[in-house]
């Protein structure tokens, strides 16, 4: 699964730790999700969407989908 986490984070000038704190997860989790090494569960994906004020599909796209 592809995601725009890094771009969205850059737009807000947040570090991985800033985002991790808001999501109440570890910095490693944010790093793994951002690099596409780990796909978050649906509840965590909703939480990420809430933090950015976007819909899930605005952040995560299926593999091969246009960004």
């Amino acid at each position: 699964m592809n995601n725009r986490l890094k771009v969205l984070r850059a737009e807000r000038d947040w570090s991985q730790q800033d985002l991790a704190d808001q999501l109440d997860v570890s910095r490693q989790s944010v790093n793994a999700i951002e690099k596409g090494r780990y796909d978050p569960s649906l509840p965590l994906a909703f939480k990420i969407a809430d933090v950015f004020g976007l819909a899930i599909e605005d952040i995560f796209q299926r593999e091969g989908a246009e960004q």
Binding site: K6, A10, S15, Q17, D24, S26, Q28, S29, R37, Y38
Partner: protein, 209 residues
Amino acid sequence: MTDAIEEKPEVAGRSPAFWGAMMGISYACLGGLAATGAIEGVALLMLMMVPTALMIPAIKSANRRVDSGGNACFAKGEAQKRYLKRVAISTSIYMVSMGALVFVAKTPDVAFFWVVLSALAPGLAILGVFWAIGRLIVEEQDEFLRMLIIRQSLIATAIALSAATIWGFLESADVVIHLDAYWWAVLWFVGLAIGAVSNRVEYGAWGAV
């Protein structure tokens, strides 16, 4: 904006990985000495306390990292703190019970009840570590870290069970020497370390056990 995971706080002292490696090397040396018959019986039991004692600096080092906000190996979290506390208690009980086991082994004419009790106690203390890992899986709120811990445990289980099965059949055929069964638990802990390396390669983080 920081791009990666590298923003580690400064933490004094050796890392938990260093002490873990020291434990692994100590167990490997003891395993080698025991397999070749160079040491056995009470001497082996006494020397088994050395690698376990290395858990103390390992736990202290891990606690320093948890308190400082964590790095690539240990994340900040209450579940990890409770886990480390439980492992510290189990390790302490193990050390004391090993002392008792050595004492009973060296004392003549001990009642059978005390022989059984002293032999059971170290095993039960190690069960405490298994229980602590189980509780960590239940209590860890970070789903990514929980997945890493489960992955580590499965890799360790696969290695230990596979080795035990192969060795068992080889032993039945008198190809290899007899090994006391607690060595499979030791191998399981080595498997946890291998699982951590696998996590690092696959997911970029070591895990939390």
